[in-house]
């Protein structure tokens, strides 16, 4: 057995590095995309998905009409009808178009044309592929800068991130913006060494802006990093013993020495945004102002945090830290601390890898900027960790660095203590790295599997899982996806053919409710009853998707139904997610118990 492993290790090490890297990247891409796509079927439809999927088809149709030279496609009227309008959310113009367009193209291809899957899954395939691209990019970057082991670990930890994995299964923008954020940083990194990559940076940055408004913070990351490189170059250019003023002067001069084309690329990136967003082809300034203004003045949704309901600033400065501490796998958090210490130590010793481009600093700045804005008391917190999702790859990378370093130290120790012959050093090193890395990845994988399909209700082992999160008064969920778990129960009350429909007050699942029968997940005859008190009054079945501020919906239902007793409660590790109430005439038919997951 040991000999076989040795042979396998030797064969692996003998592989050409480029081949090894490419094969690994391909396997990561396939495993990521296929696993995400396979598991998304269990996840209910998010409220926002209905909007994006709907507009995605019309956006995609517009582009298809453009490249097939349909008449009038570039008219102001057609563009306005598709991408915009007078109301702040007309045409979903408050969000840029890239992902919606890709969702739409994916849907048209996979569902409408090839009939391989349903429209929701077809749309979600685009997000799955985007997140797989993020996993691969992190692998390639980690491998290129540090080592194969660092890259591989970082990639797997990014994939097995409970909340990140959840968002990767949805037709939304939160996973894709991680991809585009990383792509922009890596393009910048490459551009520091190659002027030609500045073109790539320009394009990718523009596409990142076209993915989600988080990308507006990217110049902050790149700007600070570039300033650091200029400061360092300035020090090299300045005479020995030069004062601060002289140093600053040389720093400014260094702007044109380091790689000034990145500045040009960032400045021109918004032109790419405009090119791919027809709504910006006219009244450009006011439309951009509307887009950004929408988010600066965004309504504050209710959000529970540490037992308090927040719906109005000021928001606690520690939301970003506490939420990250309680949702990211603990191994990744601990590894990130250890990896940070390692990076700092190497920087002080002057032994940082690729020090001329400071990759560690770039990734740390990436996390700091994307998280830092949430220290402001006015920044909305209602999306939890998805707001700063681009920060998490940094934690994964730092953990990869820590684990590989620990493996090297451990295997060196084993060799020094003569527990293994020196000739086996590389084999031991690989074995220890595989064992340590395997345990870290397995712990992360375990959290991700445990979270599925209710990722937004998941809290890590430090929190005590979903029950611990509930005890701490952390946000239970949002978007209404957990309604998927009550469809079987509700479905048993479907009317027979020819009978009257049984209206359902579907609460926060309302935008998606009428989609479930089309997907075959709910029998016909159980239509959505409408909103608020009018919907409850009309309903025979009523759902409450539990969040603290939604307690009021339980009480509205009690008032109308005359009972406080739900007939079914969906739980996740004992934590209630959805209550289902029945009118008196249906209660006798209820059979199912509340299952524990």
């Amino acid at each position: 057995m040991t000999d076989r492993l040795r042979q396998l290790a030797a064969w692996f090490r003998a592989l050409d590095r480029t081949v090894r890297r490419r094969v690994t990247a391909l396997v990561l891409a396939l495993v990521s995309a296929s696993s995400i796509f396979a598991t998304q079927h269990d996840v209910g439809i998010a409220r926002d998905e209905m909007v994006y999927i709907g507009y995605g088809k019309s956006y995609a149709r517009w582009w298809i009409d453009l490249v097939t030279f349909e008449d009038g496609v570039t008219s102001k009227k057609r563009i306005t009808d598709t991408f915009g309008g007078d109301a702040p959310t007309a045409g979903n113009r408050e969000h840029p178009p890239l992902m919606k367009t890709l969702l739409g193209l994916s849907r048209i291809l996979l569902a409408d044309k090839l009939e391989l899957t349903d429209p929701v899954s077809a749309s979600r395939a685009a997000t799955a592929l985007m997140y797989a691209a993020a996993v691969v990019m992190l692998f390639l970057f980690g491998t290129h800068v540090w080592s194969y082991g660092v890259g591989l670990l970082a990639a797997l930890l990014l994939l097995f991130l409970p909340r990140g994995y959840f968002h990767a299964q949805l037709a939304t923008f939160d996973a894709p913006v991680v991809t585009m954020w990383l792509a922009t940083l890596f393009a910048y990194y490459k551009a520091l060494g190659s002027k030609r990559w500045s073109i790539g940076l320009c394009i990718v940055f523009g596409l990142a802006l076209a993915t989600k408004h988080n990308a507006l913070m990217l110049p902050g990351v790149i700007g600070v990093h570039y300033a650091y490189l200029c400061w360092r170059k300035g020090g090299q250019l300045a005479a020995d013993g030069a004062g601060l003023g002289a140093r600053l002067g040389w720093t400014v001069r260094a702007i044109v020495h380091v790689q000034p084309w990145v500045i040009v690329a960032l400045a021109l990136g918004p032109l790419v945004l405009i090119a791919v967003w027809p709504w910006l082809w006219f009244d450009t300034v006011s439309h951009i102002r509307d887009w950004i203004g929408f988010h600066l003045d965004h309504v504050h949704y209710n959000f529970e945090y540490l037992g308090e309901n927040f719906n109005h600033p000021p928001f606690p400065w520690h939301v970003v830290f506490v939420t990250t501490l309680l949702t990211v796998p603990v191994v990744t958090l601990v590894g990130a601390v250890m990896g940070s210490v390692s990076l700092v130590k190497r920087a002080i010793e002057g032994t940082s890898v690729q020090a001329d481009r400071a990759p560690g600093l770039l990734m740390v700045l990436s996390a700091a900027v994307s998280m830092g804005v949430f220290l402001l008391p006015s920044t909305p917190i209602f999306g939890a960790e998805k707001h700063w999702a681009p920060a998490i790859p940094t934690l994964c990378l730092l953990t990869g660095i820590a684990v590989v370093q620990a493996s090297t130290r451990c295997s060196d120790l084993l060799t020094q203590m003569r527990w293994a012959p020196p000739s086996s050093a590389s084999f031991i090193r690989m074995g220890v790295a595989a064992a340590l890395g395997g345990m870290v990845v397995t712990a992360s994988l375990g959290e991700t599997v445990t979270a599925h399909p209710h990722g937004l209700s998941h809290y890590n082992a430090l929190a005590g899982g979903a029950p611990g999160g509930a005890d701490l008064g952390m946000n239970r969920q949002f978007w209404g996806t957990s309604a998927r778990g009550v469809l079987d129960f509700v479905g048993q009350f479907a009317p027979a053919k020819g009978e009257e429909p049984v209206p359902v007050y579907s609460h926060d699942a309302q935008p998606a409710w009428n989609k479930y029968p089309k997907l075959g997940l709910l029998p016909p005859g159980l239509p959505d009853a409408g909103r608020e008190t009018a919907g409850i009054a009309k309903s025979h079945i009523a759902l409450v998707i539990h969040e603290r501020h939604f307690n009021r919906h339980d009480y509205l239902i009690w008032d109308r139904y005359g009972t406080v007793q739900p007939s079914f409660v969906l739980t996740h590790h004992g934590v209630p997610l959805v209550s289902v109430y029945l009118r008196e005439n249906l209660r006798g038919k209820a059979e199912a118990e509340s299952p524990s997951e």
């Binding site: 504050h300 209710n302 308090e308 309901n309 719906n311 109005h312 796998p329 603990v330 191994v331 601990v334 340590l436 345990m439 870290v440 397995t442 712990a443 375990g446 959290e447 445990t450 890590n460 082992a461 005590g464 899982g465 979903a466 029950p467 509930a470 005890d471 239970r476 409450v544 539990h546 603290r548 501020h549 307690n551 009021r552 339980d554 009480y555 009690w558 008032d559 005359g562 009972t563 406080v564 007793q565 739900p566 007939s567 079914f568 409660v569 739980t571 590790h573 004992g574 934590v575 209630p576 209550s579 118990e593 509340s594 299952p595 524990s596 997951e597």
Partner: protein
């Protein structure tokens, strides 16, 4: 490595530690066998409440769940997960305890408050006047993310409305609560409401209910016997629209 192992073990154990349907059934069974009408049923921590109501909701009338407070209940049944305790049982020692998996069933007994007048129940006899939007009425509503049956008055901005009970029978204490109903009105408008209580024209309590204050208690010593009790609800401030001032009160012996 130790952290990874620990995380794997804890994660694997989380689902196993949750109360099962059988645990709930067993705990609820004892309550069903021994519970009498008028005895309070509570759950702890509050997030297991939906499960508790699923198993025992038929023994929980809306009036019990939407109570003003627990003072009038002489017997309290509590189903709690792990070591949790309901605020209603604070300071009490259980007379009976039994465990069902991670659920603990406890029974408490105490001297209940004797209610002389329940103002919410007697709202039909009240005179309502003043500057209000719509009409004051008894509602089942959310105040402080809890259910309460209370008298809801919506004064016009910077105005007051009065709910007057002539010849209300009082005991030795008047106890009440007030808050702003409906989380969405509290989000969009941040101005508070205020409730002033007078007995025979003399102010005995004044409470300001802010958007984050929840269900705020007030109390006043009273002389037993009939008296005119007036509750004045005010929307504080010129921008204080849609202040759904909801209050409940009891005269206790």
């Amino acid at each position: 490595m130790a952290v990874a192992l620990w995380e794997m073990i804890v994660t694997a154990g989380i689902a196993a530690l949750a109360p099962t349907a059988e645990d709930w059934r067993a705990a609820a069974q004892t309550v069903r066998e021994q519970h009498r009408p008028g005895e309070l049923i509570v759950f702890a921590p509050d997030w297991i409440d939906p499960l508790g109501r699923q198993h025992l909701g038929d023994r929980m009338p809306i009036e019990m769940v939407a109570r003003m407070d627990a003072a009038r209940f002489g017997v309290i049944w509590e189903i709690a997960k792990d070591d949790a305790r309901s605020p209603e049982t604070a300071g009490l020692e259980p007379v009976h305890t039994e465990e069902h998996g991670p659920l603990t069933l406890r029974r408490y007994e105490r001297e209940p408050a004797e209610v002389v007048t329940d103002f919410t129940r007697h709202f039909g006899k009240a005179d309502v006047s003043g500057q209000q939007v719509g009409r004051a009425r008894v509602v089942l509503t959310e105040v402080g993310f809890e259910p309460h049956r209370c008298i809801q008055v919506v004064p016009r901005p910077d105005q007051s409305a009065q709910v007057r009970f002539t010849a209300a029978e009082l005991g030795s204490e008047l106890v009440g609560y007030v808050g702003l109903a409906d989380v969405f009105t509290r989000r969009d408008v941040r101005d508070p409401g205020r409730l002033t209580v007078t007995i025979d024209g003399k102010q005995v309590a004044e409470v300001t209910a802010g958007v984050d204050d929840g269900w705020v208690r007030f109390a006043a010593a009273t002389e037993p016997g009939p008296a005119e009790v007036e509750f004045t609800a005010t929307a504080v401030g010129a921008n204080a629209r849609d202040r759904r001032v909801c209050f409940a009160a009891e005269a206790r012996r």
